[in-house]
């Protein structure tokens, strides 16, 4: 008797804990979205979701639960871990960026927009291209952005300078943009930041009209196996021009809080996603005028422009509710509100000649630059789908710094970078290509 009691007490104690549970994710009527929108962008996203729940959701008995999971790569980490361990805990939709594409392309739990029967005919063509794979369109573009050159317009105007068109132009004006105090300490840099994968997709991709970092068209046609930026000399070309810029002494090689430095006036320019526009402007808070311009070209032959970045909605559930929610997210009204509040480019082409959107662009010229830049770009210039994206991101920065700061030989840096990417491709192929 007593033993039974003891056992029961002990087990009850242990298991009672297990009963406190947050509940499953796929109850009908609830659509969960994991997202990476924080700050002003996060607030805009929450408002869009709240609006859905109040209107369309209420009519159709659907509640969207949006869950912030940290940065885009945190969302991917969570999705992958969950899919491997307990697939029933996957959300219905996850907002991911290009770093996720390769994993998603090779996953068996992804539901393609085609399989959901979604109409994607009105979606921005270059956004479609950015997510097109051997399996077809992987996800529904939602927040399209591109790399953008941010500059302190007040400063540029006072020096009667225009934003540079090429890196060589930039090198020429960098000493004018920088500033030193009497002791020789730099108080304002011409540029702050160290290019990584995202920037290099543009700097390399634009070369000779169109270039790829790796084969299979940057992995869009299939799992990439071979590095191209080494043998095609594109990375080398970039490094030559970038080193010249850094040699002016007015480039700050920081990798954190760059927009804070920009807002504080400690750097005259920076490269950042167009999606940061509203956040940057609120950080600057009117202390100077923020200008945006096309990303400087590596050289005059680098005419390819920039690729579409940002994120897309990846679906993991075939339910009709999910389709309704996705349809809502790319509708004209939502995309207009989203673009106005964030700086993302609307992915719904129906908006491009809507008077409301045109009026918005007219009154906010900084927001129009990203659209113009995208229109001027080759849509085949795409983001590279690389495995171990996080590690390679750092490897690129490391090699660039090795060249600009430590005087590492450019060819050696290119060879090391090539080896690092090749190893990541080989590892990934060894672990994933026999699966299907």
């Amino acid at each position: 008797m007593k033993i039974g009691k003891t056992l029961a007490a002990v087990l009850a104690m242990l298991l009672s804990a297990a009963l406190i549970h947050a509940g499953g994710s796929s109850e009908t009527g609830t659509v969960t979205i994991w997202h990476s929108n924080s700050g002003a962008v996060g607030n805009a996203f929450e408002e869009i979701i709240d609006e859905f729940n109040r209107t369309i959701g209420k009519e159709n008995g659907i509640t969207v639960e949006s869950i912030y999971q940290g940065a885009a790569n945190d969302v991917l980490t969570k999705v992958k871990a969950t899919a491997n361990a307990d697939i029933s805990s996957l959300p219905d939709i996850a907002q991911l960026d290009a770093t996720a594409a390769l994993d998603m392309m090779n996953s068996d739990y992804l539901i393609l927009p085609d399989e959901l029967g979604l109409d994607t005919s009105m979606i921005m063509p270059s956004a479609i291209e950015s997510l097109m794979s051997e399996r077809g369109l992987l996800a529904l573009p939602f927040n399209a952005s591109s790399l953008l050159f941010y500059y302190n317009r007040t400063l540029f105007d006072s020096l009667s300078l225009a934003p540079p068109e090429t890196l060589d132009d930039f090198t020429a004006i960098a000493p004018l943009l920088g500033e030193k105090d009497s002791s020789g300490r730099i108080t304002r840099y011409a540029f702050a930041g160290v290019p990584a994968t995202y920037e290099l997709c543009a700097f390399i991709g634009a070369q000779n009209g169109l270039s790829y970092l790796v084969d299979e068209e940057n992995g869009h046609l299939g799992t990439p196996r071979r590095v191209l930026f080494g043998e095609e000399g594109t990375f080398r070309n970039f490094l030559v021009h970038w080193k010249a810029l850094c040699d002016t002494g007015y480039v700050s090689n920081i990798t954190n809080d760059i927009s804070t430095e920009f807002a504080a006036g400690r750097t005259a320019t920076m490269l950042a996603s167009s999606s940061n526009l509203s956040t940057v402007m609120s950080k600057v808070g009117g202390r100077f005028e923020v200008g945006t311009a096309f990303v400087p070209k590596t050289d005059s032959a680098a005419t390819g422009g920039v690729n579409i970045g940002g994120g897309a909605m990846f679906a993991f559930s075939e339910r009709e509710d999910v389709k309704t929610v996705l349809g809502y997210l790319v509708s004209e009204e939502v995309q207009l509100e989203w673009a106005e509040k964030t700086g993302y480019m609307p992915v719904n082409t129906g908006l491009y000649d809507s008077p409301e959107y045109i009026a918005f662009l007219d009154s906010h010229p900084q927001f129009a630059v990203a659209m113009a830049q995208t229109e001027a770009s080759n849509p085949k210039v795409t983001g590279a789908w690389l495995p171990s994206a996080y590690q390679l991101y750092y490897s690129f920065q490391t090699e660039i710094r090795n060249v600009t700061e430590k005087g590492k030989d450019i060819d050696e840096a290119v060879a090391d970078m090539e080896a690092a990417v090749q190893k990541a491709l080989d590892d990934y192929a060894a672990q994933n290509l026999n699966q299907h």
């Binding site: 007593k2 009691k5 003891t6 007490a9 002990v10 104690m13 242990l14 804990a17 297990a18 009963l19 406190i20 549970h21 947050a22 994710s25 994991w34 924080s38 700050g39 002003a40 996060g42 639960e65 869950i67 912030y68 999971q69 940290g70 969570k78 871990a81 969950t82 491997n84 361990a85 307990d86 029933s88 805990s89 108080t187 927009s259 804070t260 807002a263 504080a264 006036g265 400690r266 956040t279 609120s282 950080k283 808070g285």
Partner: protein
């Protein structure tokens, strides 16, 4: 002379140890522009309560705190209870396989939980315990060092009392609850406080096993409030002060007890 030097060194050390707290406190009253001032500030240009308003108005801040308390409490209580039961069995009962079981349990000391992160995550997920208090707490309940500690104090317990209690017809659980635990209370308090602190402070594990904001603990919540991304560093510091203040007060009020509990653990 030696006294003055000693006092100076102590004051210097104290200043260093206090600096992050003081800076966080001061920065929680910074208006936003103070964070981008070209000369770093220590004191706010003017006192701004914007940070506190934002932090307190945050949708999940209170919930994060509550979750941290609940999980830390659960973890500490269960670890104490599990340690008491095991320690009692090892010190008061004889049974076959005692040595083997004890050796096996103590061998877990060699297995750092951080290195088991992925496998434990998979196990918890497959148990369907993602996003539950149980998922946050379960892997941290058993601790060989807590068990060892409790055993050390129970081994000294007077066996005559145990035999007398059994003669009286008191069951083992009754003996544990009425005699053993009260007699060796310091060790249980030590185990409890140590478990509470370590659970409250854990970061990686709750980050992995929680999915929804309403299940997140303050440790991960505070890094996910989203204030820093907006340039609202003041709100971030305000949130830190709000979450730290109660602990600081508790710590100062119960300083002797906590110091005793911690030093009682390892000696």
């Amino acid at each position: 002379m030696a006294r003055i030097i000693r006092t100076i060194i102590i004051a210097l050390l104290a200043a260093i140890m206090l600096f992050p707290l003081l800076y966080a406190f001061s920065a929680s009253f910074f208006p936003p522009e103070d964070f981008t001032a070209s000369e770093a500030r220590f004191l706010p240009s003017h006192i701004s309560f914007r940070g506190y308003a934002l932090a307190l108005g945050h949708r999940y801040f209170g919930r994060y705190m509550l979750n941290s308390f609940i999980t830390a409490l659960m973890s500490a209580t269960l670890r104490t209870a599990v340690s008491v039961l095991a320690a009692f069995a090892f010190t008061h009962l004889s049974f076959r396989g005692k040595r083997i079981i004890l050796t096996a349990l103590l061998a877990t000391l060699f297995i750092p939980p951080d290195a088991m992160l992925y496998e434990n995550y998979t196990a918890i997920a497959r148990m369907g315990l993602l996003d539950s208090y149980a998922g946050i707490v379960l892997p941290s309940i058993f601790s060989a060092s807590a068990m060892l500690l409790t055993m050390g104090s129970y081994a000294a317990a007077d066996r005559d009392i145990y035999d007398a209690a059994r003669m009286d017809g008191t069951g083992d659980l009754g003996y544990i609850a009425r005699m053993l635990v009260p007699l060796a209370a310091p060790v249980s308090i030590t185990v409890f406080i140590q478990a509470f602190i370590s659970s409250f402070n854990s970061y990686l594990w709750p980050l992995l096993v929680t999915v929804r904001p309403r299940m997140r603990t303050i440790q991960i919540g505070i890094a996910m409030l989203g204030f820093a991304e907006e340039g609202e560093y003041g709100a971030q510091f305000a949130a830190i002060i709000i979450m730290t203040a109660p602990f600081l007060l508790l710590l100062l009020a119960a300083r002797r007890l906590i110091m005793k509990a911690i030093s009682g653990g390892i000696s």
